[in-house]
Every structure is written in C-alpha cells, then in structure tokens.
C-alpha cells in the first residue's frame, strides 16, 4: 500500500502563514496597548474595528488557513488539490488585511477598504475551493470533514455580510440599524467559522494526541446539527426578519451544541492512554475550558434587566478572540509547527534521533501561557469594571507573551536553515 509522503505539502503552503500570524500577534498586542482607552468606550469605533479585523484575518484565520493546508491531506487522506493556490491565498489575504486594517484604523472608507475587502474575499474563496476539491477527490467521509467544510461555507457568508456592511457604510441602503447587521456578521463569523472549524479540527487532533480509546462521535454529530440549526435561525432572523425575538432559541441551540462537543472532549480525555500531556496540550485544554467565558458573559448580558453596559459586549468579543482563539492557537502552534519542521528536516532512509519535541522549548510554552493568561484576565476585568489600572499591566504581560510566542515560532522554523540539522 502506498503511504503518505505524497500528502506532505510544500513549505510555502504552510510556513508563511504561521510566521505572518506570529508577527501579527505582536502587532495586535502593541495596538491594544495604544488603544486601551478605546476599550473603555463603545465597541463600534475605528481602532477597535481595526484591531478586531487584524485579529480575525492576520492572526486567527491566517494561522488556521496555514494549518489546514497541512492537516487537510491527513484528514481527507488526499494530497492537497493545489499547492499554488495557497501562495495566491496568502498574498491576497496579507494585502487585503493591510488595506482593510489601515482603512479602519484611520476610518477612511474610500477605495482601499473595498479593494482590501474584495482581496480578502478572493483569498477565502480560493482557499475554500482548494479544500472542497481536495475533499471531493477523497473517499473519506465523516463528521469531522462536515464540520470543516461547513465552517468554510460560513466563512464565505460572513465575508459577504461584511462587504455588504462596508457598502452600507458608504451608501446606507440597509433597512435597519447598522449595529444590528454588525451583530449578525460578528456572531456568524465567531460561531460559524471559528467555532465549527475548531471543533472539527480538535475532534481529530485531541483524541490523536491523547491516544483516546473511546470517541463518542454521536455527540459530535449532535453538536454539528445543533450549532448549524442555531446559526441558520440566527441568519434568517437577523438578515431577513430583522428582529431579535428568537435569540433565546438559537443561543440555546448553539450552547447545547458546544456542551455536546465538550462532552465529546471529556470522553476522549477520560479514555486517554496518554495521561502525561505536554505543554501544547495543557495550553489547548486551558483554551477549550475558556470557551465558557464568552458564553457566561453573553448569558449575563442577556439576563441584565435594565440595558446591559456596552462594555459587556466588548468583553464578550475580547474573551472570544483574546481568550479562546488566541490561547488555543498559542498551544496548538507548538503541537503542529515542530512536527511540520521535523517532516522537512528528516529523511526516511535513516533512523531518526531528532524528534519534533527537540525543536521547541516546553518551558517557554508554559512561560508564555503563564504570562498571557493572567494578562488576558486582568485586561478583561479592566474592560468590565472600566479600570485602566488593570488593563495596562494586563496589556504589558500579553505583549511579553506574544513576543515570546513570535520569537519561539521563528526559532522553530529557522531550524530549517541550521546547518547542524541538514544531516538528519
């Protein structure tokens, strides 16, 4: 039987994404430091829009697209359809993100922001085509692939709503308040793209890394249908009916779906043969646990009897991207990146003394978490109680953590250039 070297994508389809995302994380941390006061005001303002879009495209989506170019061939048991498309996707995404973020930051709604938005849409469509065709050519069909494919569809829907909002900024043609559509755009992106994709990929990686003996996949299937049903109701109500009457239903569906996923992960952990988990998985579990935080803030916001403070919405968004997404990526980077580099360093015709774990430093990963997590919690508390005395130290801790993360990622990748490893 043929095996999988043919499934390993070339470096340029993966590594530029990881390195750019790492650089973006440092830039985001610095931008947050210079806009601490903005976090105390309304969430709908230029600097926060710029930071959010850099976080979404430059950090979260950037690293996810790179990682999916590496992981899809493993999940679908098929070589990536095209290894040229990821290069185009990367260039469109970088150019589009720069234009979009700069335009939001200076709040210039002229041609660069539209060029940027369409450039990003092009990159997302090209990436989705590459993933869809790869999966279509594969004989593997399972719920994990369904999660990943559906997440890509929601990503395109999110981007289309975003572009519609941009035109609405300029020409004001939508029938109700702009903030109403912004809520739909943000929520579909968070639950439809990030959450579904992360559930899909982690459902494959967590049992694999833990060596779980029991995977209760029925919970994944239930989670898939609950979350998607919630999203469809939300999309119809938000875009077509333009009301907020059914929010209890679709939030309940999505929360129930997340609980099913958490139950699946719990079963994987309970049946795991590997009990000694490394730093990457420890950070990952912290991230999976932190998914509850935006949920709690959201529920508290909805239960608030007399118009909840707007800072709760800022805190909700920040806890999703700054907490769940960032912590998860920080952990998974040091599960995936060293392995990707190892694959390119080693040759099949010799016994490997070098292992992926030799390419990164476990202590640095834990130090990064030890700085990031308290920093994030301080910053989040600062948003909620309007205290710059909590936000500034939190921000500094997150900057240090992001610099460590960035330098560590570069160090891992630069093993490829190290003469010492050329003979492996």
């Amino acid at each position: 039987m043929e095996i999988a070297e043919r499934h390993i994508p070339v470096k340029k389809t993966v590594l530029p994404y990881y390195l750019t995302a790492a650089a973006c994380l440092v830039i985001i941390s610095l931008m947050v430091l210079f806009t601490v006061k903005d976090f105390d005001g309304h969430f709908f303002q230029p600097h926060l829009l710029a930071i959010t879009h850099l976080t979404v495209f430059g950090w979260g989506t950037m690293v996810i697209l790179g990682a999916s170019n590496q992981l899809m061939p493993v999940i679908a048991d098929k070589k990536l359809y095209s290894e040229r498309l990821p290069v185009a996707v990367f260039l469109f995404l970088v150019a589009g993100t720069c234009l979009l973020v700069h335009s939001f930051w200076s709040f210039e709604l002229t041609w660069p922001i539209f060029v940027g938005a369409f450039s990003i849409l092009t990159s997302l469509v090209l990436h989705s085509i590459n993933i869809f065709v790869t999966v279509k050519r594969s004989s593997v069909k399972n719920i994990i692939i369904d999660f990943i494919m559906t997440a890509h569809l929601w990503l395109i829907v999110t981007a289309l709503i975003g572009i519609t909002l941009l035109f609405n900024f300029r020409f004001g043609f939508l029938p109700v308040d702009h903030l109403h559509y912004l809520k739909v755009h943000a929520s579909i992106g968070m639950a439809g793209w990030f959450l579904l994709l992360i559930i899909g990929v982690s459902s494959r990686l967590v049992p694999m890394f833990l060596l779980s003996r029991k995977e209760v996949k029925i919970f994944l299937t239930i989670a898939y249908y609950l979350i998607n049903a919630g999203l469809i109701f939300f999309l119809i109500e938000g875009m077509v009916l333009r009301s907020n009457n059914g929010y209890r239903w679709y939030i309940s569906l999505i929360v129930a779906g997340i609980l099913c996923y958490l139950f699946y992960i719990r079963q994987c952990y309970k049946s795991a043969i590997r009990k000694k988990i490394d730093s990457g998985m420890k950070v990952t579990f912290v991230a999976i646990g932190s998914i509850c935080l935006p949920g709690i803030i959201m529920i508290a916001y909805l239960l608030h009897s007399r118009g909840a403070p707007v800072s709760m919405i800022t805190a909700y968004g920040y806890s999703f991207f700054g907490g769940f997404i960032t912590t998860l990526i920080m952990g998974q980077t040091f599960k995936t990146l060293p392995f990707i580099i190892w694959i390119h360093l080693t040759k099949p015709d010799r016994l490997q003394e070098l292992q992926p774990k030799d390419l990164y430093n476990e202590h640095l990963v834990m130090l990064q978490l030890g700085l990031y997590l308290p920093g994030f919690l301080l910053f989040l508390s600062g948003i909620l109680i309007h205290s710059p005395y909590l936000m500034y130290p939190g921000c500094v801790m997150m900057i240090v953590a992001s610099v460590i993360y960035c330098a560590h990622s570069v160090h891992v990748v630069f093993h490829l250039k190290n003469e010492r490893y050329k003979n492996y």
Binding site: D77, M208, L351
Partner: protein, 110 residues
C-alpha cells in the same frame, strides 16, 4: 504483535529484529512503534533468506508514514543482513489505542 514463542526456529532473529524495531519511534505519538502496536507480524524464512514484516500506521494518511516505514526497513536490514526485506503495510485491523502494550501505557503515564 503476538509473542514470539521460544520454540520458534527463528526465535533469535525475530527477537533481535523486534529489539531493533523498538528503536523506531512514532514522532507524533512519541512512543516506539513496537509498544505502540504498529508491528502486527514478523515472518523470517532462513531458507529463502526472506524477512517479512506486516505493520500498520496510526492512520492511513499518517504524515510520518514514510519515515516510520523507512526506519523499519533500516532496522530489518541490520537485524537480518543479506536477507530480502519485505514490508507489508495493512490497515486491517485498523490501529487503535487499544493496541498499545502494557509497557507503552506505563511510559505514557496511564
């Protein structure tokens, strides 16, 4: 992998091969491939000078598949010099964490 019987005429060769195969590690799962249960069967025919290893991978698309198979080939050549080495890759039965040996489980902290 079934235990090698002491009465097996190729006991020494098989035991040596198994010992050398345990130097090959799965880089993702960080355990040697023998304790991981990736080696299903070893057949040695001294007359035909043939060593045949039936093995699997943790997943058909395992990105480290070539490296593991390369390591098995290398170790088999060292254990059985002058023998033809045949490596049969199978996914029947499919590998699962239940295949991990007691020693492997202890190493993983189970």
């Amino acid at each position: 992998m079934k235990d090698i019987k002491i009465t097996d005429p190729c006991y020494d060769e098989k035991a040596r091969l198994l010992q050398l195969l345990s130097l090959v590690r799965d880089p993702e799962l960080e355990l040697n491939i023998v304790d991981l249960g990736l080696i299903y069967e070893i057949e040695i025919d001294k007359d035909k000078k043939l060593a045949e290893i039936t093995m699997t991978l943790s997943t058909p698309a395992c990105p480290a598949g070539d490296y593991i198979k390369g390591g098995v080939d290398l170790m088999a050549r060292e254990a059985c010099p002058g023998f033809e080495i045949r490596i049969n890759l199978t996914f029947e039965p499919q590998w699962s964490a239940d295949h991990i040996s007691e020693a492997g489980r202890q190493e993983l902290g189970w």
